[in-house]
Subunit: 156 residues, 2 copies
């Protein structure tokens, strides 16, 4: 069970990589993301201390996410097949539950609603990453997020 010290900006996984690992964040902040056909970046998740970041695909298929460090970060690296032998079901169920909520939000909620949900759910991360990344995570442009926040202020 290796440890790894990452400098801000370091990329530790790229789409296409085989035998990807599972990363337990000890300190710092990871993120996973894709880049689509038009070259646009879409953040899939943020991983602050205590979180587990991984591309949950079967061991043998290539991953489709980048993972990099948004701050200087320390991670514990676990081989994916090894992780399978210590089957900790609870965190997997939690992840599914979170993803379920995210899908439903993406399908049914407006930009403002999605932002306010994020605000309540991850107030910490809001402070730690640039707003354009929040926008990317929420599936909107930085300009749209800017507009949304301004309109909310006007109403109060």
């Amino acid at each position: 069970m290796r440890r790894l010290n990452l400098k801000k900006g370091e990329i530790i996984q790229r789409p296409g990589d085989l035998n990807s690992k599972v990363y337990h964040v000890v300190r710092g902040l990871l993120r996973s993301y894709t880049i689509d056909a038009k070259g646009k970046e879409h953040i899939f998740m943020f991983g602050p201390e205590g979180w587990v970041v991984a591309d949950n695909s079967p061991v043998e298929v290539p991953v489709d996410l980048f993972i990099d460090a948004l701050e200087d970060t320390i991670v514990r690296v676990v081989e994916k097949d090894l992780a399978k032998e210590t089957p900790n079901v609870a965190p997997l169920m939690r992840r599914i539950s979170v993803l379920q909520k995210r899908v439903i939000l993406l399908m049914s909620a407006s930009a403002i609603e999605r932002y306010e949900h994020f605000e309540q759910t991850y107030p910490d991360i809001l402070q730690r990453v640039p707003q354009k990344m929040i926008a990317s995570y929420l599936g909107m442009t930085p300009e749209a997020l800017s507009k949304v926040k301004r309109n909310r202020l006007r109403k109060k």
Copy 2:
């Protein structure tokens, strides 16, 4: 491990239900969905034979999805905490992987692209459910889906 015979249209789980179960579809077709604040229905997943349908939340928290039968359906019902003791990690990972793809599609793909992805991934289900349900699953209105298909034909 009970068995259950459902008639088309039967609802077996409602938002707020506690101690929800895990449903293994033996024959037929289930679906899970929410109804949002504006009364609009959003289909979260379809569960044809061989699939497992459940609201993957911790046992003790109330679920937030409806589950009903789109066809006459036979299911095997498993208690959730029991399912936890037979920790079958592989299907959970698969589900996460599918949800990951879905989130990324919702964030980055247009209506047409989402539809074509569905067509390729679940050609079977496309035949079995009304189009408005496909639209709901894809996060768009039936009208939008209709338009999308027409425009695609024009181009060919």
